[in-house]
Amino acid sequence: MATRLSINEIRYIIDGVEQDFRTDGRAAEDYRHVELESRVLPNTNGSARCKLGKTEVLVGIKAEVVDVDVHAPHIGKLVITADCSAVASPKFVGKGSEALENDLTNILSFIYHSTETLPLKELCILPGKSCWQLNVDVLFVQCGGNLFDVASIALKAALHNTTLPKVRVSGEGIEMEMEVADDPYHVWKLDVSNWPICITLYQIGCSFAVDPSEEEVACSEGYVHVGVLPSGDVSSMEKSGAGNIDPTVLLEMVEVGVRVGEDIHNQLDKQLEAEKSLAKL
């Protein structure tokens, strides 16, 4: 995955980004073609596969009933785990992928941990006792740059088609009992209208770009993850990577991130709605 570039190639790429005309002809704000497939894993409650450039990610969501967290007894849980498969690169065999996986898990959990944006209250079954825990497993089958954005798009699509069995709560007080429905068609879906997606902006030279190719990542110094809500609000932000970012450039980055994020949300929502009309569930 480490790309070796000559000094001239680096200069060429940086100049391209600064002049808003990258090596493959895209502008700094343009994403590459996104391929998205929903409900690819029948074993899960919800799943999606997303391919962007050379990165391919599989997201599987499995739900289980667990005890509530003592500090948050009225909401459900969302646990995100990232996994870089060895099929993506020989470097990911055994413990080789640990550092990258930790990074991915932390950033994705960070983007998705804001309780105001996420309808975690819906996941509560018996307040103070039981709730749904959504185990989100993000599996990177190919790693070719821009991992966070692809993961978050796949995550949103997977959450959109996640179905949870209906739970019948009976009894009162301490004797409350719950019964999870067995019928595979007796299900409900989460409201994902307010879930954020992550837009990562890479600083390249004096300018910045979204969705960089591997070569562009090699020329970049520092990047910013912006969690963008469909309404255009920013839910979270984090700067990573080695490199300093100028504060004025940072504000521009966030502006662009929000613009791109809103656009992606619109397109994604349109596609997901169209898909919903195809399926019965």
Binding site: N43, S47, D83, V87
Partner: protein, 233 residues
């Protein structure tokens, strides 16, 4: 003991197949651009992705062999793969064992003498498990090696079987596996009919052994012809 009846009236299995009928097979080659060779094989609901890297220089200089290539294999099961979610464990004994099994299988099948002092990496990722994951992994590895252009002595086809009420059931799914009957896994090179790998779990009566081996090999020949047709496409 709760035994799932795998045969309803008409002699059909729980998913509507006849005893010797194999599951629907779907294969796709060249799915992973970064790898030298890759393949995804789906048998019923079991889906396995295999990537092959190499032959390339040995990562570990002490392990390299001056006469032939070495094979390094890693087998991983995705957390969302099984019906019940599994947390990822890096050095799980079972997955290491399957990795070694696949490595041994292909050391017999790959023409290793053509690449002295090199290493061939085989990485198996089970995306979805519904029975027979080891077999699907072997089938997918054969296709991935072919996609990588690595010379093989023959295809390696694998199939899992069990015996239920005196009849041999081929290509068993998860439900049939959990029934706790004898679990027989066989990998052969169909042209020469030589057995590359054989594993048997639980008990199998000696009288049934011959029948199981013959019928499994028959099933694998069918599998091989499907794979060949697929490759021609």
């Amino acid at each position: 003991k709760a035994v799932v009846s795998t045969q309803s009236t008409g002699g059909l299995r729980c998913d509507g197949r006849r005893p010797q009928e194999m599951r629907k097979l779907k294969c796709e080659l060249g799915v992973s651009e970064g790898a030298d060779g890759s393949a995804i094989v789906e048998q019923g609901y079991t889906k396995v992705l295999v990537s092959v890297f190499g032959p390339h220089e040995c990562a570990n200089r002490t392990a390299r062999n001056h006469e032939r290539a070495i094979i390094s294999c890693s087998y991983n099961f995705a957390s969302f793969g099984a019906a019940v979610r599994k947390k990822k464990m890096t050095a799980d004994k079972k997955t290491t064992e399957v990795g070694v099994m696949i490595q041994n299988t292909f050391e017999a099948a790959v023409m290793l003498e053509k690449f002295p002092k090199s290493q061939i990496d085989i990485y198996v990722q089970v995306l979805q498990g519904d029975g027979g994951e080891r077999c699907v992994a072997i089938n997918a590895t054969t296709l991935a090696l072919i996609n990588a252009g690595i010379p093989l002595k023959d295809y390696v086809c694998a199939c899992a079987a069990t015996v239920f009420q005196d009849s041999v059931l081929l290509d068993i799914n998860n439900l049939e596996e959990s029934y706790r009957g004898p679990l027989f896994m066989l990998a052969v090179m169909p042209q020469t009919e030589s057995i590359v790998q054989l594993q048997l779990d639980h008990r199998l009566h000696n009288d049934h052994l011959d029948k199981v081996v013959r019928e499994t090999i028959q099933g694998e020949r069918e599998r091989e012809s499907v794979c060949v047709c697929n490759l021609c496409v």
